[in-house]
């Protein structure tokens, strides 16, 4: 197992977090810092040391527009039901709401998916997996957060084990409120996302790359043992 105290000494996160208040102003990018730089030497091999990169739009606008259109019309949803909101995803997939009409389909693995639907409350244990899954997803990737719990904690605002605002940990493109939002509302959320993608506004992935350190600091603030114990992920 990992020696926690040792890890703490190397980890400068706790001091950093206090200074990182607003997502707008205080983030910084230090290209030289590796994503796994905080870790002890022998544990680095477990993690990727590559930072996410900002992908600028293609200069030739028609091409970019075409690509955005294509992206919007084939949203593949990661079938990771992170909270109770996921139950309304199931009816969406059936013939009654028929999400396939819009080119959307569930995918079992993050590597095939382009949309991450955060279904409501996110417990600490799940947050770790969410971050992991999100980082595994290939770009362009988008996040739709449904339910009030993902916006400001919802019912579990005073719970010790759920995070309150998901946009502190991963960038969210579209929010749908409700507890739960009906399938129609979730569907409208996806349609809104399509619209944003076509307008070239759904740049959550780039935001994550730009403010990578800010997001990481936030993630590390709540997830205490960031380096994995020997099981799971």
């Amino acid at each position: 197992m990992i020696d926690k105290d040792k890890y703490k000494d190397v980890n400068p996160v706790e001091e950093e977090v206090k200074t990182l208040e607003s997502p707008k102003n205080n983030w910084y990018v230090d290209e030289k810092t590796l994503a796994n730089a905080d870790l002890p030497e022998e544990e680095r091999e477990w993690f990727s040391d590559a930072r996410p990169q900002v992908v600028p739009p293609i200069r030739w606008t028609p091409m970019e527009k075409f690509l955005n259109w294509a992206r919007a019309k084939s949203l593949w949803i990661l079938a990771f039901g992170t909270g109770c909101g996921a139950i309304e995803l199931r009816p969406l997939l059936t013939a009654r709401y028929d999400i396939s009409r819009f080119g959307m389909a569930p995918r079992p693995t993050p590597r095939q998916a382009s949309v991450f639907m955060i279904g409501g409350y996110v417990s600490l244990k799940t947050l770790k997996r969410i971050v992991r899954s999100y980082e595994q997803m290939q770009g362009p990737k988008f996040v739709v957060a449904v339910c009030s719990c993902a916006i400001n904690g919802g019912m579990y605002w005073d719970s010790y084990n759920t995070i309150k605002r998901i946009d502190n940990y991963i960038p969210v493109d579209v929010y749908v409120t409700g507890c739960m939002p009906r399938p129609e509302a979730v569907l409208s959320g996806f349609q809104k996302l399509q619209q944003l993608i076509m307008d070239g506004k759904a740049e959550g992935q780039n935001l994550y790359a730009e403010k990578f350190d800010w997001y990481k600091a936030n993630q590390k603030k709540v997830i205490k043992d960031w380096n994995m114990p020997d099981y799971n992920w």
């Binding site: 009816p91 799940t126 719970s159 020997d230 799971n232």
Partner: protein, 385 residues
């Protein structure tokens, strides 16, 4: 590398992963087949599972802690969140336990409405489950049918209670609202369709060669295991134990209704699926009986003391009901203040999903783990709450 796996299953040998003979494989929490989020840490040898360890806690919100600092009336919206596919059992149990501690009786009409709500939610929950069960065996069609049909049942809930999933209908003291106009006719239509669908499901699923060859003999629960593991509900009934709280300790108006306990003897996945399928028919029949027998008029709510500062006299009680997965219970300890001292939620998935599942999957192959998990009808939020 140091051996990081000293303990996996107690009393069983330690699997040396470096020997290349065994492989550790994680299923979940991000896995499309898992109901709710839960992960199975499997040790496999070839295609065969040799050991399993379940991991829960991905959906832990600390309900029991949260309820300790909420007034009783404020626990009412929160309890239904404990089980998403079947919130009504939670609502009923919390309301019933609180009423018992307060010494309040609920009007007769409200009791009928509660029973109606419970049976409808049983139907919806089973439809959701049969979708998952067939989906886990590769029969996506039944999944599509069942879940779409469940949506029609949810429409009924929406008209009755004002919400699709979290109905928050059974408040301590009674229910919130009478049957809306035209609801009974709508229900009859939905029930007819569901009945038709169930027959179709029987043809497509239970006669299906693939399903038969996989489900028969898979994950057998022997009658001896029932008491050992505390198995309840359809899982126990599929192994021949005729136990149903609705019959044994009748609550609400179940003693006015005519139904029998559905049992099977094989105790395998097929039998469990069949028992639940029968119970769906039973639910439909119960709903029809309730609509026929229910009094047309009468109060639906007994006034509680002012809910903003209602104090519940000190005491404790345990109220249980038969949910789709078996015995569901609420143990409330009141200490005479406005806040409950402790509310323990006893979900049947607790024993099914952890102790039992860990032992049942051993010996099966990887592909069967989810079919097995679903056939036990576990639902992780109940375990971790």
């Amino acid at each position: 590398m140091i051996d990081k796996y000293p303990k996996i299953v107690d009393g069983k040998s330690v699997y040396d992963l470096d020997s290349q003979k065994y492989l550790k494989m994680w299923q979940g929490p991000q896995h499309p087949g898992v109901t709710g989020n839960m992960s199975l840490e499997l040790i496999i040898s070839g295609d065969q599972v040799v050991a399993c360890n379940t991991h829960v806690g991905y959906l832990h919100r600390g309900f029991e802690k949260l309820m300790e600092r909420r007034r009783y009336i404020n626990c009412f919206p929160i309890v239904c969140r404990i089980c998403v596919p079947e919130p009504d059992t939670n609502e009923y149990l919390f309301a019933a336990a609180t009423e018992e501690l307060l010494g309040i009786t609920v009007p007769e009409k409200a009791q009928w409405l509660r029973t109606l709500d419970l049976e409808l939610s049983r139907l919806a929950s089973f439809l959701m489950w049969i979708g998952g069960q067939s989906g886990s065996f590769g029969s996506g069609t039944v999944a599509q049918w069942a879940i779409a049909n469940r949506d029609f049942v949810l429409d009924l809930f929406e008209e009755l209670s004002g919400a699709r999933i979290y109905h928050m209908y059974m408040i301590p003291g009674g229910v919130r609202g009478n049957l809306p106009e035209g609801w009974i006719e709508h229900t009859e239509k939905v029930l007819n369709n569901t009945e038709k669908l169930l027959d179709e499901i029987y043809i497509v699923l239970f006669n299906n060669a693939v399903f038969k060859s996989r489900a028969v003999g898979m994950g057998v629960i022997t009658p001896e295991m029932i008491d050992q593991y505390g198995i309840v509900g359809p899982n126990a009934r599929a192994s021949g134990a005729a136990r149903d709280i609705r019959k044994d300790n009748p609550y609400l108006v179940y003693d006015h209704l005519d139904f029998k306990i559905e049992t099977e003897t094989a105790g395998d996945t097929y039998a469990r699926t069949l028992v639940r399928w029968k119970e769906m028919h039973q639910s439909i029949s119960l709903i029809r009986q309730i609509l026929k027998l229910m009094p047309k008029l009468g109060p639906i709510y007994t006034k509680l003391p002012n809910v903003l500062h209602m104090k519940v006299p000190a005491g404790e009680t345990y109220v249980k009901a038969e949910s789709t997965r078996g015995e569901y219970g609420y143990y409330i300890v009141a200490d005479g203040t406005e806040f409950p001292r402790k509310i323990t939620v006893r979900g049947p998935s607790y024993s099914h999903g952890m102790a039992l599942l860990e032992d049942l999957v051993v010996g099966g192959n990887i592909a069967d783990t989810h079919g097995l998990m679903l056939s036990l009808h576990t639902y992780p939020p109940e375990i971790e709450r």
